[in-house]
Subunit: 337 residues, 2 copies
C-alpha cells in the first residue's frame, strides 16, 4: 500500500492551499475554472479518493441511507430494494441494508445504532413482531425516516403503502364470484396496519356478499414453520374450505403442501389466492392467483420521499400516494372442473 493521497498531497504538488483544493474538489463557485481543472486533473492522475469518514465528520453528512427490512430473501423486499437502490445510485448515495428477521429486538438495536450519524436517513418496513410504536416515535424525531409497505397506524411519519384493504376486498370478491362460499384466511402481520387492513377487506367482502364467517376459518402465522403447516392442515380437515386466501407469500407454500398431503386438488377442491410477488407464480402447479404489489415502484417512491426529506423539502400529506396492487388471475381460482 502506497502512501495515501489526501488533499494535502494535492495541495503540495500544485503549490496551492488545502482549502483551495477542498473547494475545487467540491466544485465551489469561489474557485477559478483553471484551478479547478488543475486540481481535478491531478486528483484523477493520483487516483485521489476523498476520505468519507473525514468528510462525514466535518460535514455531518454521510451520503448513506439505511434500509431496514424483515428479510431480503423475500421477493417483495428484494424488488423494493432494487427500486430504492436505483434512486440512491442516481444521487450517489450508499445503501446499508439490515435484516431484522422479523425480530423487533434486532430491529430496535439496528435503529439505535443508526441515530448517531452513521446514515442520513432510514427507510424501514417494520417487523411483524413489533407491537410498540414508542420506539419509532422517538426515532422519527431524530432522523429522517420513511416507512414503506409495513407501518404502524399511530406513527406520524411518511408511509408509502399499498391499497391493502381494497386488494383484499377484491380478491375475496373474486373468489366469491367463482362460487366459493367457505373461504379460509391465512393471517399474518396482524399487529401491523398492513395485516389489519387486509383482514378487514376480507371481512367486509364476506359481509357484503352475505357470507358468514367463523373463527375456525382463520389461521394465524407462526414463526415455527411446522406449526403453521399443521394449523393449515387442521383447517383443511375440520373446516373443509373451498378456498384459501393467504395474506402473505410465506404461508402459501405450506398451504400447497398441506393440500397435497391431504390429496386435495387445487383448484377443484380448494382454490388458493395469495398476496405474492413470486416470480414463478405462473409456473406453479396449478399456477397461483396473486395480489401483486408494485414492489419496485414502492421502493422508488419511498426513496424519493426520503431524499425530499433530506433536501428539507416540504411534503404534503396529499402527495403521498397509496400504491395500487394488481390482482393477477390465473386458473388456480377459476372453475375449470
Amino acid at each position: 500500500m502506497t502512501e495515501n493521497v489526501t488533499v494535502k498531497t494535492l495541495a503540495r504538488e500544485l503549490n496551492v492551499s488545502i482549502a483551495t483544493v477542498s473547494k475545487a474538489l467540491n466544485d465551489s463557485h469561489e474557485i477559478s475554472i483553471e484551478t479547478k481543472q488543475k486540481v481535478l486533473a491531478l486528483a484523477k492522475k493520483l487516483k485521489y479518493e476523498r476520505n468519507p469518514s473525514a468528510s462525514n465528520l466535518r460535514s455531518q453528512k454521510t451520503k448513506t441511507i439505511a434500509v431496514i427490512v424483515p428479510e431480503i430473501a423475500n421477493s417483495f423486499f428484494s424488488l423494493a430494494i432494487n427500486g430504492i437502490e436505483e434512486i440512491a445510485r442516481k444521487r450517489d448515495y450508499h445503501v446499508l441494508i439490515y435484516q431484522t428477521h422479523e425480530n423487533s429486538e434486532i430491529e430496535t438495536a439496528f435503529t439505535e445504532s443508526l441515530v448517531c450519524g452513521r446514515v442520513d436517513g432510514i427507510l424501514i418496513s417494520i417487523s411483524s413482531s413489533t407491537n410498540s410504536s414508542s420506539h419509532f416515535k422517538s426515532l422519527v424525531k431524530k432522523i429522517p425516516v420513511v416507512f414503506f409497505d409495513r407501518a404502524l397506524d399511530d406513527i406520524d411519519a411518511i408511509k408509502v403503502t399499498t391499497d391493502d384493504y381494497q386488494s383484499a376486498y377484491q380478491a375475496t370478491l373474486h373468489l366469491i364470484e367463482n362460487g366459493c362460499k367457505n373461504i379460509a384466511y391465512l393471517s399474518a402481520l396482524s399487529k401491523l396496519d398492513t395485516g389489519k387492513k387486509r383482514i378487514q377487506g376480507y371481512f367486509d367482502a364476506l359481509k357484503n356478499k352475505g357470507l358468514s364467517f367463523n373463527k375456525g376459518l382463520m389461521v394465524t402465522h407462526d414463526p415455527d414453520r411446522d406449526k403453521t403447516y399443521n394449523r393449515i392442515k387442521n383447517l383443511l380437515i375440520i373446516q373443509k374450505p373451498d378456498a384459501i386466501i393467504s395474506s402473505v407469500e410465506e404461508m402459501v407454500i405450506p398451504a400447497y403442501n398441506a393440500c397435497k398431503a391431504l390429496d386435495l386438488r387445487i383448484p377443484d377442491d380448494v382454490k388458493i389466492l395469495s398476496f405474492s410477488n413470486l416470480s414463478t407464480a405462473a409456473l406453479l402447479n396449478p399456477s397461483l392467483t396473486t395480489i401483486t404489489q408494485p414492489a419496485f415502484e414502492i421502493g422508488q417512491e419511498a426513496a424519493g420521499f426520503l431524499f425530499k426529506l433530506l433536501d428539507k423539502k416540504y411534503i404534503t400529506t396529499e402527495e403521498i400516494p397509496v400504491m395500487k396492487s394488481v390482482l393477477i388471475k390465473r386458473d388456480s381460482t377459476s372453475g375449470h372442473t
Copy 2:
C-alpha cells in the same frame, strides 16, 4: 434535536478527562472498574452514541464490510447475504450491499468508491459481464477481498466456491441414467470460472458415456429476456432435445415457458434440471430437479475468511473449502411415462 452528547459532555459531567472517557468506553484495561462503570452509566443515561465518522477517521477502521453481488432478487445471493450478515452481526459489523445488475462498469465504479476507507473489507461475487481481471488484481492489493461463488481464474485471492465441475457432471450423468441421449445445455456465466467448470462437467459426462455433442445443443444466455426465450424455443424446435440442463436458475423459467408454448410435456417429452436455489422448486409443474448450492453456508464461510483477513490471520490454501452442492432429484427428471 438537543445538543449532541459527546465524550466531552461525559468528561465534563464526571470531572474526568476525555481520554479517560474514551478508554472507558472502549473497555480499555488501563481504566479502573469503578470509572468504567461510572462512565458507562452516564453514557447510557445520556444516551451517548459514539460518532462513527470520528471514530473511523481516527482509528482507520469502519466496522463495515461491503458485499457486491450481481442481484439481490436471486435466491442464491439473498441466502448468501443472510449467511454473511449472520457472521457480520456477531462481530458487530455493518454491511453495505451493492448490486451490479451484471454490469461490470457499475461493478468497477463500486469497488473504486470503496477503496478509500469506506469499508474494512469486501465480499464479492463478480458480474457475468466481467472479463478482465486486471481491475480486481489491483483491488486485492489495496483492501482485503474475498470472492464467493463467482470468481475469475487468474486472480490470486481467497475464493469460496462450489464444486461446479462435479455437480454439473453428476447432473448430466443423472439425466443419462434416466435414458436421455440428446441433452441440451443452457449456458451462462461463460466468462467466469463458475460457468466454465459447469460446461466442462457436462462435456466430460457426455464424453465418458459415449454421447456426442453438437453446438446446436448449447444455448447462451442473453441479457435480453426475449432473446433468451426465443433461443431456447428454437433449440427445442430444431434439436428436439430429450433433456435440458440449465446452468442458472434464470434460464429455467423461459425454458418452462418455451416447452409450454410448444406443447411439450415435462418430463415426458423433455426433462429439465437446473442449478437453482428456488424455494418453490418442489411446487413447480412438474417439480424441478435442482443442483442446489449451500448458499447460506457459502456466505458464512466467505465472511469468516474475510474476518480472518481483517484479523491479519494467516490463511493457508488448504483450509479454504470447496463447498458441496446437492443434487435434489424430483420427478421432473425421472421417467414416469
